[in-house]
Amino acid sequence: MAKQKFMHFLGCIIPHRYPSIEKAARLVFADLGIELLDMEKASCCPAPGVFGSFDRVTWATIAARNLTIAEEAGHNITTGCNGCFASLWDANHELKHDDELRDAVNENLATIDRVFKGTVEVTHYVDALYSVAGLEKIRETITRPFDGVRMALHPGCHWMRPKNIKQKDDSERPHIFRDICEASGATYVPYKDELICCGAGGAVRTADVKTALDFTKQKFDSLLEAGGADIIVTPCPFCELQLDLGQVEIQKHFEAEYHFDIMHVVELLALAFGHEPEEFGLATHLQYMQRKNEPAWQVLGIERPTADDASASE
């Protein structure tokens, strides 16, 4: 079988705020024999909350511009962000089904000599991991299982919802994201509010961070009621930011203190595949940078990186 290739859509938060996710993705997909191609000149997806709420045609136009980059290259897209996935997948879907929107968008795109053709599909890392690599291949690649580590999940919203349109998983009882994460060997910890939103989306975090954090706090409290967990795993950098940096912000806004290590699913897999945390900079998550602390290495069963300034010069 020819090597599977994807146009790698980075978005904003991964490359600009959580580059450890970008690096981890490169490691994980290389290990799985999937090639990620740089998507030169891609822009913001654009942010579905703000752009989708401001002007649907502009939102679809900017998303379509990104889609044309992949169409020109002739490969499907994959992205590690639920928000980017929401914009690109939804726009691709709507443009393929709504002629009026497509005409309006192509009229705009004509000003930069581009045209939306509708020839590629948009996937999330979750799809690439589950449907292209497959659980078996993931299990085979694991050399450092997270035995005994208590793992809670935050699947987030936009990969699987709206369920009738996305047709990915049952959004009331999803299992795909969990199956991937459980392949790491960690023990799944259910909690009541696992499936509620982190609070960041829909342009809410931008408008009113305290209200957004109130969602996050509810999730943390729900998880503590369920006995707590050593890590929370998510497939989205915006959720990761909200859960990770959010702990520092919650401390300011609510005088409540939480200490959870947060990982993107590709960070979890990079470690499980035997990569050292300093290879992708796990300790650069913003909560650690701001609190001047580190992941709970011992709990994770990972030896503490020796050099304090763990740089990834390989």
């Binding site: 600009h16 705020r17 580059p19 822009s43 654009p46 942010a47 709206p162 931008t206 290879e279």
Partner: protein
């Protein structure tokens, strides 16, 4: 955070009969299927902590209370989690209805300053969250990546394309005009 005390009764004589059609066109085509069961609000994590009531906004919209809907600050508490959309027995797709009403609100000048800033970021840098200064370039170096990613952050011509698109769709004016209004 209930605000029942502050609310004056709605003025049913002041309705806009075009509003529902406008919403349907702006991206909420199923709004008229709503039979007010309340499943959406019962499922809504935003409504659980704020005075945002998605069912109420849909009802007001169906009555033609345009100004009430587009001027209400709580319209912006929906996180677009789509839980209501997955549970609505009438396939109203409340999330899409809310986004459509937001589109109309923005056209009428109701735009929050922080959102406008995010929109302008995209026109200036190609990204809602721009790479920013040296701190962030160093963070990328620290994890073993090139200082600037291969997106618009290292391609000024990509930003030019975005600016042209915003001009073509009228988005530049939409976000800029409000800037003047604010002064």
């Amino acid at each position: 955070m209930t605000s029942a005390e502050e609310k004056v009764p709605i003025d049913i004589d002041n309705v806009d009969h075009e509003f529902v059609a406008l919403i349907k066109k702006a991206g909420g085509p199923n709004i008229q299927s709503c039979f007010q069961c309340g499943t959406c609000s019962g499922s809504c994590p935003a409504g659980a902590r704020t005075n945002y009531l998605v069912r109420g906004i849909i009802r007001k919209a169906l009555l033609g209370l345009k100004e009430e809907c587009i001027s209400s600050p709580e319209l912006w508490f929906c996180t677009t989690c789509y839980t209501c959309t997955d549970r609505c027995p009438q396939d109203v797709q409340p999330t899409e209805v809310i986004k459509a009403i937001r589109n109309i609100a923005v056209q009428s000048g109701y735009m929050l300053a922080p959102h406008q800033k995010v929109a302008l970021n995209v026109l200036k840098t190609g990204h809602a969250v721009p790479l920013g200064g040296e701190t962030w370039e160093k963070l990328r170096q620290k994890v073993g990546l090139e200082t600037r990613p291969p997106n618009a952050s290292s391609h000024p011509d990509a930003i030019e394309e975005i600016v042209k698109l915003a001009k073509a769709s009228g988005f530049d004016k939409l976000v800029a005009e409000k800037e003047e209004k604010k002064e």
